[in-house]
Structure formats: structure tokens, C-alpha cells
């Protein structure tokens, strides 16, 4: 009995401290380590970019950022469980576009796009057409000309279907009025391997591929507003007359019962890491393109992307 009382007392004490904490939490947040859940396996691009953020969080906020993985279903397993985690600000999850738009639109995956409380979109890997260094395609026009003469014969590898690569392929084919064959691979790594092995003629990849593979590949165009600082010689699609800007966007989200002040706090945290000069350089060298979409701008950003992705997905026949 005595033990029982003690237990209740301890429980009440705990409840009080928890209540008190929630009032003051935004000021001295974070006061312990935070969990950063990546809904993919280790070693992927989402993991690597989280790993790059990790030391800056520790440096600026003095607490550890513990990365854990919840892979499965192309991210769907993690995102469908996001809202059942504690909304105390100490759990955040990586989110990706176009995944969180396309997945719920195609089938019941246990979450909807609006279930995901996005806090900040911090970078994207811009779409790019990549060819091997010894390819005959010297410019984007070469590829378009060849595709016009040989409809469907230009094989292009890419990561998965319903992905940034796939949607870019569909949108570009429409814009250039050509027909290419998109070959889906499991992840960017496999798509690059197929390109380097000459299994396909070109790849729908990202600027990060250009950064990693160096002079073994050539990028014909990148889907950015302006040229990527790391590749000043590679034209943008816009320069060449195609209004194609985008790629795979990454950001963070929190469980839906996370209080407003903590959401704002996280938005500030990610923004401050993104603003760090050393971090910026690291990301640009890696081929990433930094963007800043803080918490209050997320809804507008999402609306625009949603419309764009769903249109492309419809013409691809992935979404009915």
C-alpha cells in the first residue's frame, strides 16, 4: 500500500512538472536530445543530408540530434505513424516531396498530405538530365533531336515511379514534345550504376549525381531558376526554353499536437542551420540547392507543388 501511494505521488509530481514544462518549454528548448526520424534506410540522400545537419544542431543548441530510421513503403510507414508520436517538440521527422503528395493520392497509405505538419522546407536536389561523359549527346538539343527521330528509343533511368525523376520525365516529354522511355530503378544509386554501365542512354537524376560522379558524367540541363554555383557551365532548363524548375524537396515535420510556439521554434532552428556559411558551402559542394520555406510559408508552398505534381501524375496515369 505504501508503495502504491508513493507511486501515485510520483505520478502526480511528474504530471505537474510536465505541465510546468509546457509553459516554459519554448524558451529553453531544447533541454535534452531530440529524435530526428528519417523514414528511409540509412545511406540514402535523406540520411546524408540529416547527417550533415546533425553537427550544426549540436553546435548551435548544445543538444544531441539523434537520427533514427523508420524505412518502409517508400517513406509511407514513417509518415503514417508521425502523428502518433509525442508532440513535445522532441520528435521531428524528415519529409520529402513529391512523396507526401503522390503517395496518398494513389492509394490508401495510412496518411493524407494534410496530416503531415510541415515546418520547414530546407533544400532540394534539382532534377537534371545526366549522360555518361563519352555520350554523343553534347547538349540537351542533341537529345531532343535524337528522341524526335527515334520516338521511345531514348532510355532514361531514374529512381522509382511517382517520384521527382519520373514526374520530371513526364513533364519534360510534354514540354519538348518528345517520347522517351523511363526505366525505374530502386534509388538514385542504382539508376546511376545503370547509366555508367551504358544500360541506358541517359538518366533523370539530380545535381548531386553530378557532384558525386565528377567528370565521369555530363549534365545537360538542371531544373533550377538560376545555374547551380557548383556547375556554372550547365544551363538551366529555363535558359533553354523549358519552364522546368524543381526536384526532390526535403523538409521536416512534427506530430500534429506539437504546440504552435514549438513549431515556430523548430522553423527558426532549421533556418539558422541553413544560414550557416560553412553548412551552405558543404551543401552546395554536394550538389544540393538550399531553399528557405519557413513555417508560415509552408501552406502556400505546398499548394503550388500539389497542383503541379498531381497534374503530372495524372498525365502519367499514376493517379486516377
Amino acid at each position: 500500500m505504501k508503495n502504491c501511494h508513493r507511486l501515485i505521488a510520483a505520478g502526480l509530481a511528474l504530471a505537474f512538472t510536465a505541465g510546468a514544462a509546457s509553459v516554459a518549454q519554448a524558451q529553453d528548448f531544447p533541454d535534452k536530445s531530440v529524435d530526428y526520424v528519417i523514414p528511409f534506410g540509412p545511406g540514402g540522400e535523406s540520411d546524408i543530408s540529416a547527417r550533415l545537419q546533425q553537427p550544426y544542431f549540436k553546435e548551435k543548441y548544445g543538444q544531441d540530434m539523434v537520427i533514427s530510421y523508420k524505412p518502409g513503403g517508400g517513406g509511407a510507414v514513417g509518415w503514417s505513424q508521425l502523428n502518433s508520436s509525442d508532440g513535445d517538440g522532441y520528435t521531428v521527422m524528415g519529409i520529402n516531396l513529391p512523396h507526401i503528395v503522390i503517395q496518398p493520392a494513389t492509394k490508401d497509405v495510412g496518411y493524407t498530405t494534410d496530416d503531415v505538419t510541415g515546418i520547414y522546407w530546407f533544400h532540394y536536389t534539382p532534377d537534371a538530365i545526366v549522360v555518361p561523359a563519352d555520350s554523343d549527346f553534347q547538349s540537351l538539343q542533341d537529345l531532343i533531336d535524337y528522341a524526335k527521330e527515334n520516338p521511345g528509343k531514348v532510355t532514361m533511368s531514374g529512381s522509382g515511379k511517382g517520384t521527382a525523376n519520373h514526374l520530371a520525365s513526364i513533364r519534360f516529354d510534354e514540354m519538348a514534345d518528345i517520347k522517351t522511355t523511363y526505366v525505374p530503378f530502386k534509388g538514385t544509386g542504382a539508376a546511376v550504376t545503370a547509366l555508367l554501365g551504358n544500360q541506358v542512354l541517359a538518366e533523370w537524376g539530380y545535381t548531386t549525381v553530378g557532384a558525386q560522379q565528377g567528370d565521369k558524367v555530363r549534365m545537360l540541363a538542371v531544373a533550377m531558376d538560376e545555374r547551380h554555383p557548383a556547375f556554372p557551365d550547365v544551363p538551366t532548363f529555363k535558359e533553354l526554353g523549358f519552364d522546368l524548375v524543381g526536384g526532390a524537396y526535403r523538409g521536416i515535420a512534427v506530430p500534429k499536437d506539437t504546440p504552435e510556439e514549438l513549431r515556430q521554434k523548430w522553423s527558426d532552428i532549421v533556418g539558422s542551420i541553413n544560414a550557416d556559411e560553412k553548412f551552405k558551402k558543404q551543401m552546395l559542394d554536394g550538389g544540393f540547392a538550399l531553399i528557405d520555406v519557413p513555417y508560415d510559408e509552408v501552406p502556400a508552398f505546398m499548394e503550388k507543388r500539389k497542383a503541379e505534381y498531381l497534374k503530372a501524375a495524372k498525365s502519367a496515369g499514376i493517379v486516377k
Binding site: D35, V66, S68, T106, K161, P184, G317, I318, K320
Partner: protein
């Protein structure tokens, strides 16, 4: 006559039942593939489901034509087997409510009972539960703090 009676008995009833079940599974899978938007996702499961159905049907025919060698009987008590699976499933189901440690310890203690074939002595009655609790706590510490695995927390406490 005696030989006939034995031969019907020694037909692979279990195998045939399993084969029928697999035919049903194959058929359900075939039905599921009809709903895919992308033909690329349907090709492989469809082929495999057909292979499953054909090999299972083939086996059913084979089993009626030929007698398999008499199978060895598996000794042992069924209740303990069922109890093992039941305890494991229940402890996993309980995890989101009572948390990882509590459900782990309870499952461990129950499984000691399920697996206990030796007579209980006082020493064993004291030692085994202690060892069990130590193992659960040890692994919890290793996974939670050593390997940084976010183990399930209980909703109740």
C-alpha cells in the same frame, strides 16, 4: 486388405490441405493484381501467383497418384507450442499500452513456465525469474542507450 487401409492413411493429407490453401492464396493474389494502376507492378506477382497455383495443383495430382514415404511423427505437446506463439503475440500487442519493459518481463516469465520441463526447485524458482528480469533490462539498456533504438513506450505508464 490391410495394406489398402494403410495406404489411404499414409497419403499426404497435410500436404494436400496446404496445397489447397496455397491455391486459394494464389487466386486471391491474382484478384489483387487486377486493381493495379501500373502494368509493371502486376506482371511479376501475376506470374508468381500462377506458378504458385500450378505447382500446388501439380502436387495435389501427384499426391493422389503416389504414396509418399510414411512421415515421421513429431513428438511433443501441442498446448505448449500454442502457448509459446500466443504469449509472444500477446506481449507484442500489449507493448503500446504497458510499454516495452513490462511486456518483456511478463512475456519472459510466462515463457519460463511454458518451457519448463524440469521439476521446480526453490533455487530455480528464485534464480530463473531474476535471470529473466536481468536479461530483459540488460537488452533494454543495450538497445535503448547503446544502439539508440526508440523502443515502444507505454500509453498507460
Amino acid at each position: 486388405m490391410q495394406i489398402d487401409a494403410r495406404s489411404t492413411e499414409s497419403r499426404d493429407v497435410g500436404g494436400v490441405v496446404a496445397a489447397f490453401a496455397l491455391v486459394v492464396i494464389g487466386a486471391i493474389a491474382l484478384y489483387d493484381t487486377a486493381g493495379y494502376a501500373d502494368i509493371d507492378s502486376a506482371v511479376f506477382p501475376r506470374t508468381v501467383a500462377i506458378a504458385l497455383i500450378l505447382s500446388s495443383l501439380g502436387y495435389i495430382v501427384y499426391a493422389f497418384l503416389r504414396r509418399p514415404p510414411a512421415e515421421e511423427r513429431n513428438p511433443g505437446t501441442t498446448p505448449r507450442r500454442v502457448a509459446l506463439v500466443a504469449v509472444m503475440l500477446l506481449s507484442v500487442a500489449a507493448m503500446p499500452w504497458i510499454g516495452f519493459i513490462a511486456s518483456g518481463i511478463i512475456a519472459f516469465l510466462c515463457l519460463i513456465l511454458v518451457a519448463m520441463h524440469d521439476p521446480w526447485t526453490r533455487q530455480r524458482a528464485i534464480l530463473y525469474p531474476i535471470v529473466g528480469i536481468a536479461i530483459v533490462l540488460g537488452f533494454f539498456a543495450l538497445f535503448r542507450y547503446g544502439l539508440l533504438v526508440p523502443l515502444p513506450k507505454g500509453r498507460l505508464f
